[in-house]
């Protein structure tokens, strides 16, 4: 098998007595959608934090794009091609949708120590930003302040921002959270279209979406990866059924 794009090796993160990440080794290969699922408190957010560089692991390593990035700050990992969306929508609310994406483009257009030229008239930023908005279906909303977009539109905007730098790996933290059924469907279609072209690490609660989209699924429970495999393997896994799917079913029943 080819070298994985992202590989965590025996990551451990403790908070006091709690082991939030317990010897987790996962990998994401180029072009695949790898979903990370697990009940609340399973340590998904902590794991994501370590991959993005917001949290420093106690031990273990993270390799991305052929480099050890365990100690690299967030912005440097982004430069290597790691982009993310946030669980709680995180856009620049005072800026227009187009400004938001243009800033994301700018982040990958060399340094920004340019003080005099008007960034709003810089076609090197605006043109790719407009294409990015169009790709997620927000073309008509380009000049709307991000704060005035609907929740679903803001999630789409986040995806457009994450894609702006042409990243190797998209880390999507519950992209469907808070979306209506139709919006979710639209998002699933959009992500499906990305499959094969971009690696995605998908953290998602919506099981329908996960089983539709993922090439592989890793199940996290109490900080440990208890299973990893194709959707069918995960569905058939007894431990997963008991620890997670069963629990979920019991919870919704």
């Amino acid at each position: 098998m080819a070298e994985p794009l992202l590989r965590t090796d025996r990551l451990i993160k403790r908070f006091g007595g709690l082991v939030a990440t317990d010897t987790v080794s996962i990998d994401v290969h180029p072009g695949e959608i790898h979903a990370l699922i697990g009940p609340n408190g399973a340590g998904k957010t902590t794991l994501v934090g370590q991959i993005t560089g917001n949290t420093v692991p106690d031990s273990g390593t993270i390799h991305f794009a052929g480099r050890d990035v365990t100690r690299l700050p967030t912005h440097a990992r982004v430069r290597l091609g790691l982009a993310r969306s946030f669980q709680i929508t995180s856009v620049l609310r005072e800026f227009t949708a187009l400004d938001n994406v243009a800033l994301a483009v700018q982040a990958h257009a060399g340094h920004s120590f340019r003080f005099l030229a008007d960034a709003r008239h810089d076609e090197r930023l605006r043109a790719p930003a407009r294409r990015g908005l169009e790709a997620v279906g927000l073309k008509e909303r380009a000049d709307t302040p991000a704060a005035a977009l609907s929740h679903g539109e803001q999630r789409q905007l986040e995806i457009a921002m994450a894609l702006a730098g042409d990243p190797k790996l998209l880390l999507l933290d519950e992209p469907m959270a808070g979306m209506g059924a139709e919006e979710s469907l639209h998002m699933i279609e959009f992500l499906r279209a990305l499959r094969g072209r971009r690696a995605i690490l998908l953290i998602e609660h919506d099981m329908d979406a996960v089983f539709q989209l993922a090439d592989r699924i890793t199940v996290l429970v109490y900080g440990r990866a208890i299973a990893s495999g194709t959707p069918d393997e995960i569905r058939a896994n007894a431990e997963v059924r008991q620890a997670y799917l069963g629990e979920e079913a019991a919870g919704t029943a």
Partner: protein, 329 residues
């Protein structure tokens, strides 16, 4: 130019042009009406406006409440004063040294303080400013607490700073330059990063921006312009003293920026005009009651600030109508 003409159509644009034109011809007016004293107020307004615009670069556009900005008055002023006291009178030497010293100090303070947020940032910037204040107060050779009379910077054959009108015009031109830079700065790639980080710095980091570096650069630039204001202030009174960098002056600068409108281009200028106009004219107005209430003008000024803080968040600038999204952001 086209945007300038277009801006004339809005009340804000009209007022801005009016204010700038009035400031441009102020020496002619004060001479015509024989009100020399007004020119000295005007000079102070213009110098403080430069400092306020520079503070606005980090406070307004960067969202970083620096509570020690008057320290740059001090660093710029003392650079001129110390060189002058040692027989180095050339402005060509003094001014670059003053600006460079202020920028260097800003870079140092920024390196340490920008790692903190909120109240801690306020306290650290204040602490560094106090440090320099006490150094100034301890410089026996340069007047210590009492300050020092200095001779003005010399630009032989170019300009004589002792001439009040020439000096005023120089300050005014420098204010225009500062405003021009601030306008470009705010709308540049750099300005977008700075303003984006104010809005959501976690997001900016996740986009790949090393936010700290940009903030440090902004802090340094802001300090450099603050140093320029300090150089002008020292030349205005031909006098330096630690009082020019007391924390009260830092507070006044914040008041001016908030009063005028944070994160707006001309807000700090409006703020400086309003601040000095109130300081100058409120006391005699209150004295009209015949009971010497003028001394307590701040009893009126304080509540005015509270009202602005409560009901006019955008300061004077916001009273001029809504900003069309594209202007300064």
């Amino acid at each position: 130019m086209a945007t300038l003409l277009a801006s004339l159509r809005s009340p804000r644009g009209l007022l801005t042009v009016l204010v700038l034109v009035l400031l441009a011809v102020l020496p002619l007016l004060t001479q015509a009406f024989d009100q020399r004293y007004l020119l000295s107020i005007g000079t102070r307004i213009v110098i403080w406006a430069i400092a306020a615009v520079s503070l606005n670069m980090i406070l307004g556009y960067g969202g970083l409440v620096s509570f020690g900005h008057a320290v740059f008055f001090g660093v710029g002023g003392y650079a001129v004063g110390i060189l002058s006291a040692n027989g180095l009178h050339s402005g060509w030497l003094q001014w670059p040294v003053g600006i460079l010293a202020a920028a260097t100090w800003a870079a140092l303070v920024g390196t340490l303080s920008l790692r903190t947020r909120g109240v801690y940032f306020i306290m650290i910037t204040l602490a560094f400013a106090q440090l320099v204040y006490y150094i100034g107060a301890g410089l026996e050779a340069y007047g210590a607490d009492d300050g020092l009379n200095i001779s003005r910077s010399r630009f032989p054959g170019v300009i004589d700073l002792r001439d009040k009108a020439s000096f005023y015009w120089l300050c005014f031109v420098l204010l225009c330059g500062t405003l021009w830079f601030c306008q470009r700065f705010a709308n540049s790639r750099f300005g977008f990063v700075l303003r984006g980080a104010k809005s959501n710095d976690l997001r900016m980091t996740a986009l790949g921006f090393p936010v700290f570096r940009y903030r440090l650069a902004a802090f340094t630039i802001s300090g450099a312009f603050g140093g320029l204001a300090g150089i002008l202030l020292a030349n205005e009174g031909a006098y330096i003293s630690p009082a020019m960098m007391s924390w009260i002056k830092s507070g006044d600068l914040i008041i001016i920026v908030v009063l005028g409108g944070m994160g707006t281009l001309f807000g700090p200028l409006y703020g400086a005009i309003a601040f000095f106009a109130l300081e100058e004219f409120l006391p005699p107005l209150l004295d009209l009651g015949g009971k010497d209430w003028g001394e307590y003008w701040q009893i009126v000024f304080g509540p005015m600030l509270i009202l602005i803080a409560l009901y006019a968040r955008g300061g004077i600038d916001s009273l001029l109508g809504r900003t069309e999204g594209r202007r300064n952001g």
